[in-house]
Amino acid sequence: MEDNILEIINLNKNYDKFKLCDINITLPRGYIMGFVGANGAGKTTTIKLIMNMIRRDSGKINVIGKDNIKYEIPIKNKTGYVGEQPVFYDDLTVGWTANFAGKFYSDWDGAAFNELLTRFGVDKTKKIKQLSKGMRMKTALAIALSHRPEFLILDEPTSGLDPVIRDELLDILMEFIQDERHGVFFSSHITSDIEKIADYVTLIDNGKIIFSEEKDKILNDWKLVKGDINKSDDYRDDLVGLKVSKTGFSGIVKDIDAFKACHDMSLLTIDKISLDDVLLHLAKKENQK
């Protein structure tokens, strides 16, 4: 069995007004990767490329150890996908839709699907058009989980959902990943969700990968530095994504020891960093380039 459930190597895709540049991502089995970035950063495009819903211009994508174009059908057979706005035929019922989708999977488990629907509180006799956004998401997740997938790909699944449903969804992902052969690739711009469950975090901005590392390493290595507004110019070169407000400035730094060695720290405060801080400051840095 391949160690990596997802490998993206030098992936490129060009559109008229947007391009993905040399995307490299590796996700080992048994882990959840959060794919973070602002709206329009390239998350959905990357996911569509992984699912072979759009054609890549160059590069390579291996899913479950196999090329995603050459082995598209066996890969999709072992991959569960949930899009940002799950799409089905409006006039069909939940049960009919699942029954239809199940015909194409070799390992479809109807009993598991019914169990999940009961757990999620989704009525299988309801038509898709009668479902709320949260219910549609749960239906999509139930379908994605009922064919015994090894790999789950979720594109902004928590966007627009209320906190209770979001939390439920994160719990399900945590359950799924208990099997160490599984993997989850989960895009979101809600960093708190990623921070809660992800083992790896990949940040994408304007079609480029800013970093792709273990979450704990990111949160340990990077520090948030804050100081008085009048002194902000002294630190402009050494702080990443310097933000100046009426009350002061903030920036992030990866090697805090090297930073301390160069600056008088008595006027500064060092805080633990959140993924939101990293996202905001690194994205700001990219925009300043």
């Binding site: 066996p74 999709k76 089905f88 035929y89 069909l92």
Partner: protein, 220 residues
Amino acid sequence: MRHLVIKDLYVNRKYMSFVLLFLAAILVLKGSSAPMVLFGVGITSYGVLIRSCYYDDKDRGDIFLRTLPIKASTIVLSKYILGISVLFIVVAICLLFAILSGQNLDIYFASFAFSILAISIVYAIYLPIFFKYGYVKAATSQSVLFIIIMGASFGFKELINITNFPVPVNQLHRFLTPLINFINEISRSNIILLLTLSAVSLVILAVSAKLSIKFYDAGK
């Protein structure tokens, strides 16, 4: 493939039921006739296909299908199979009424032959445009095609007269003669006509399907 066709039939169940009931009502009230065959085959099969494409577009069903383990060629071919299946259903219904009412079936074979060819040509043009440009543009192109056909059939002669069409009519006749002779030849038996035009329809649909698969793949 089978499941995709069943899905399209199921999505169109209300329309199918309505049109088939309407068809049955006319067949019962007015009796089976050759024009009815043309009407029934045309309105039902074309309607079901167009509506299944409409639902794919409206509900973004195409995106849903692309996430499932289904080959692109299967998705494309299922639309052709859907069209042909509905064609067979309607032909079978019309034939059944003709048998029950004790009519001469031979006349029906000619009607079937030309309606199958006509519908196949419409599918063969519509589906590649649908897979390349989507429902709206395909529907527009069908309307344009319809206007052109109507315009051509009503105004062709007038156009020749008005513009002093440079190609002499006898030259056009010479060009069309082998085709007319061929149709005359195969028309001697309506069953042979039906088989020949069905084979021609299949060839046209096969070429169109190949084009549609190419467009669908490129559309990624």
